[in-house]
């Protein structure tokens, strides 16, 4: 089947089939080569004889297309997952009809512990460089979540710790629990889906991701890039309580808050009813004190005003009294002058009186005639023979009426 190349002068020329055939046999000498990378695409179908795998270099993004017979793939000890970093063993081949390079995978192995750690460190560096763990991304936890979401495995301890801690700390809380697979292949995808389901729950304002302690291998899903990204970008704050204190899965770095234990996480997401209760009592006391102080202040103010009012009235009265005294003093000092004036007036009146006295008239020659003691003004008031008293300026006369002339 192999033709010799034609000679065209000095030039050696191959037909395409000949070239592909030679290339294939050259490539087939490369056997049992191992390539490490992330499975970025995995296509397996029961109807197909071949499984298609795309292996990606995490650092550079370079890709390698590989294929494996479905029989061989299904016989693997584990189910590879997209996103997983693996070692792929295979050989090179050429699809001669199309001249396309093929990597025929013969084995897939998960990374050894050392390699996994290195891969994890790489992922950690890459995500950190992207800013996924940055402090400014961390959100504050709500003080009063309407409901707390709990993502956990069918792991009685972590779940029980969270429930017990919330029940004792803030019994009026609502807890929405979603159990999911947390280890083994399929766990990362399950965790991502469950987290999303919790986050879209109408009342869930914060999510606890809780997982009890386990081997580094057991905790790997919580360092899976998909899980880490899902936690970092979750629509509500996430508290991570995965593994023991000394374990730091990458989800701890991406979460808004890292808690050492599920119990600690529970204490972080709900307020303490006892503290709230204490706060209420304090608020009530402050309120009563403030009202009492307000009333005292007003009472004091009222007292001050009454005092001022009294002082004002007293001042007015004092003023009036003083004026009265001044008047009465003036009054007291008034009489001598007044008497003097009166005396002059009286003397004057006395003089006038004196001038009018009938005695002065008598001295001028007039006489007063009285009959029976009463002055006699008309002659007809008496009769002949009546006794008359005649008063003169000096002395009096007694005589009888002889005749009455009209």
């Amino acid at each position: 089947m192999r033709d010799e190349p034609l000679r065209d002068g000095e030039r050696k020329v191959y037909s395409v089939a000949e070239f592909n055939s030679r290339l294939a046999s050259y490539l087939r000498r490369v056997r049992d080569v191992w390539v490490a990378g992330e499975i970025s695409e995995l296509r397996r179908n029961d109807a197909w004889k071949t499984v298609f795998i795309t292996l990606k270099d995490r650092e550079t993004g370079h890709c390698l297309s590989a294929q494996m017979t479905r029989a061989r793939y299904d016989a693997l000890a584990f189910a590879p997952e997209e996103g997983e970093v693996v070692h792929l063993q295979g050989r090179l081949d050429l699809w001669e009809a199309r001249g396309e390079l093929m990597f025929r995978a013969t084995a897939i192995e998960r990374l050894g512990a050392g390699d996994r750690l290195v891969a994890l460190e790489g992922l950690k560096r890459a995500l950190a460089a992207e800013g996924l763990f940055a402090e400014h991304r961390k959100r504050a936890l709500p003080r009063f979540p309407r409901a707390v979401g709990l993502l956990t495995g069918a792991d009685a301890a972590a779940r029980g710790d969270v429930v017990a801690a919330i029940r004792s700390r803030y019994p009026s809380a609502r807890l929405v629990i979603a159990e999911t697979r947390v280890q083994g292949p399929g766990a990362p995808a399950a965790i991502v889906r469950t987290l999303a389901a919790l986050c879209v729950h109408a009342r869930v304002d914060v999510v606890i991701v809780a997982r009890g302690g386990g081997s580094v291998e057991d905790l790997l899903p919580f360092s899976d890039e998909r899980v880490v990204r899902a936690i970092a970008t979750a629509p509500v704050p996430v508290v991570s309580a995965v593994g023991h204190e000394q374990d730091v899965p990458l989800c701890d770095l991406a979460a808004d808050v890292r808690a050492a234990t599920p119990t600690a996480a529970a204490r972080l997401v709900v307020p303490s009813a006892a503290e709230l209760s204490g706060g209420l009592v304090v608020a009530r006391g402050r309120m009563a004190t403030a009202v009492r102080r307000r009333l005292e202040h007003d009472r004091k103010l009222l007292g001050t005003r009454r005092g001022r009012l009294r002082a004002g009235v007293r001042r007015t009265l004092d003023h009036d009294r003083e004026r009265l005294e001044r008047v009465s003093q003036r009054l007291a000092s008034a009489p001598p002058a007044l008497l003097e004036r009166r005396r002059v007036a009286i003397d004057h009146a006395g003089a006038r009186l004196h001038a009018l006295s009938p005695r002065r008239t008598l001295q001028r020659g007039y006489a007063i005639v009285r009959s029976d003691g009463a002055p006699l003004r008309v002659a007809s008031a008496t009769a002949p023979g009546a006794l008359l008293e005649i008063e003169l300026a000096a002395g009096s006369l007694i005589g009888n009426v002889v005749e009455v002339l009209p």
């Binding site: 629990i177 399929g186 209760s277 608020a283 309120m287 009202v291």
Partner: protein, 75 residues
């Protein structure tokens, strides 16, 4: 002493507590007229009772979200 507010029962604890805190702050400022201060105090007492009752009466409610079926959708 209780001054009921129509929607108090519907309001979240946090809101009632905040209202109480505001009342305390206003009263402590001391610039509220006496009549108003007494009305505020009565309202504050009502809020205190509401909050305290809620803390006392509550019982943890747990809801289980349907378990994830753990299957990656077929591509």
């Amino acid at each position: 002493m209780s001054v009921p507010h129509p929607a108090d029962d519907e309001r979240p604890f946090e809101e009632l507590q905040r209202e109480l805190e505001e009342i305390v702050t206003r009263l402590e400022r001391g610039d509220v007229p006496v009549d108003e201060a007494i009305a505020l105090w009565q309202r504050g007492e009502a809020l205190y009772s509401l909050c305290a009752d809620r803390l006392d009466a509550a019982e943890l409610r747990i809801e289980e979200l349907a378990a994830d079926d753990n299957r990656t959708p077929e591509r």
